[in-house]
């Protein structure tokens, strides 16, 4: 199963332990994760379900191309990294 892990910047705000997720797309994997960690959803996605502007998702080190519907596909051994995008201030 794909594995998901989160930036420690997010752990400061909400519990988001790394884990295994089911799904063949980023969307499906995130939904699987949110089912057991519902508080994490609003930190990663906005209310339209899109990736927040300053959050980045990588699949095996490559950033996703579809930030709106999160359709990028996964393989069973993928690693999903949810990171904070770089921003100033």
């Amino acid at each position: 199963m794909p594995r998901i892990r989160f930036t420690r910047h997010l752990e400061r705000h909400v519990a988001c332990p790394a884990g295994e997720v089911a799904g063949e797309s980023v969307r499906a994997a995130l939904e699987h994760y949110f089912a057991s960690h519902p508080a994490v959803r609003s930190y990663v996605l906005d209310e339209r379900g899109a990736l927040r502007t300053h959050v980045a998702i990588f699949i095996d080190g490559v950033s996703v191309s579809d930030r709106a519907t999160l359709s990028d596909s996964l393989s069973p051994d993928s690693t999903i990294d949810v990171m904070q995008a770089l921003s100033g201030g």
């Binding site: 990663v44 927040r52 300053h54 201030g89």
Partner: protein, 369 residues
């Protein structure tokens, strides 16, 4: 002295003072962007809105004066209905996404409505909670009215609702101020709305549209608790006063060094007594002459005093945002904070000020607790 909460770019700072010194007593959310705080006089709860740069807007509540906090819900915009296509002219040709960008106003409902909160947001919308922020409901009649699409952003990409005034004598009468969308009134708790900005003047529009009520840019609107018919507005183009509950507005032509600014406060028991913090003008948003001053009228705007005692009078470039001047229920204590982290408190209505003994991050909002 009571506690003053400074919501800043890097945390929530609670200050207290005595014997002429004001010090930070505690810090919450250190490192996080706190955009505003509200203290509910009905149950003593503290609320702080965060705008986490990466992870969105959040709202936290404390029932023990900041010792512990719990995350509650934030307003959620609805999905755009299929029969509501995007109006390409909305927001001057930049239609806003239906996504929460910022919590920009948070006010308690009336004394007869325990648990009710109002929240103004960017893009300009009003939300209501009946359960102390555990859940929020969009005030749909305001959001779906066609005139809302004529509002536009001033200083931000989207129009923003920054002021919510609940009539202390009639909780169903609520006024909201929008940059740039004028002032809107409901008298039935949010079911119907009408614009109430007659007399306001917008120099940033073509001359023919200068008095269009729906595009005015009130920077901040406050209502006198004991005389709710009296309102004060610091507007982008000057200071305005209403004596009839916002039905009409009179421009105040002169107020000390300048009528440009963002913040205003009104005395809780004296509608003629109000405070402003001027800046040079729209083009140069700095204190006039490098001197931080507060202007005060005690006669409804006929005359103003320029208050300087205890405030920096040279090489000071502090700008005070719209939520960063607050008055307490006594009417004698005021506090303000600047975007360069300066903060001052008075206990004599502004005759003399004491600087906070700290160098704070940029201050976005000031609240008495």
């Amino acid at each position: 002295m009571q506690t003053v909460l400074f919501s800043t770019r890097k945390g929530l700072f609670a200050a207290e003072g005595s014997a002429g010194r004001v010090r930070v007593r505690s810090v919450g959310f250190l490192g996080d962007n706190c955009v505003l705080s509200m203290v509910d006089p009905r149950d003593g709860a503290w609320y702080t809105a965060l705008n986490l740069g990466h992870f969105g807007s959040k709202l936290h509540r404390s029932d023990d004066r900041g010792a512990t906090w719990r995350e509650v819900a934030v307003p959620v915009y609805p999905e755009r209905p299929a029969d509501r296509p995007v109006n390409p002219r909305e927001n001057m040709g930049r239609p806003a996404p239906w996504v929460l960008n910022l919590i920009w106003a948070l006010e308690p409902g009336g004394a007869d409505e325990p648990g009710v909160l109002w929240c103004g947001t960017l893009p300009g919308a009003l939300f209501r909670s009946a359960d102390r922020g555990e859940s929020w409901t969009l005030v749909e009649p305001l959001w779906y009215m066609p005139q809302r699409e004529e509002w536009f952003g001033g200083g931000a990409p989207w129009p923003g609702m920054h002021s919510v005034c609940v009539d202390p004598k009639n909780s169903r009468r609520v006024l909201v101020g929008i940059s740039c969308g004028g002032v809107w009134l409901t008298e039935d708790g949010g079911a119907t709305w009408r614009v109430q900005a007659k007399g306001m003047r917008a120099a940033f529009m073509p001359p023919e549209q200068a008095f269009d009520e729906n595009i005015q840019d009130p920077h901040r609107m406050v209502q006198c608790p004991s005389s709710p018919q009296r309102l004060w507005v610091q507007h982008h183009n000057g200071i305005f006063r209403s004596d009839d509950g916002a039905a009409s507005w009179q421009e105040i032509g002169e107020a000390g060094p300048s009528t440009f600014g963002f913040a205003t406060a009104v005395h809780p028991d004296d509608p003629d007594r109000a405070w402003f913090i001027p800046a040079l003008n729209d083009e140069r948003r700095v204190p006039v002459g490098g001197r931080v001053v507060v202007t005060r009228t005690s006669d409804g705007g006929k005359t103003f005093e320029t208050l300087t005692r205890g405030l920096p009078q040279q090489n000071a470039y502090d700008i005070v945002f719209r939520h960063s001047l607050a008055i307490d229920r006594s009417g004698d204590r005021l506090a303000f904070g600047s975007t360069t982290g300066g903060a001052w408190i008075t206990e004599d209505g502004g005759n003399s000020w004491t600087a906070l003994d700290a160098r704070l991050p940029p201050i976005y909002a000031v609240t008495w607790a």
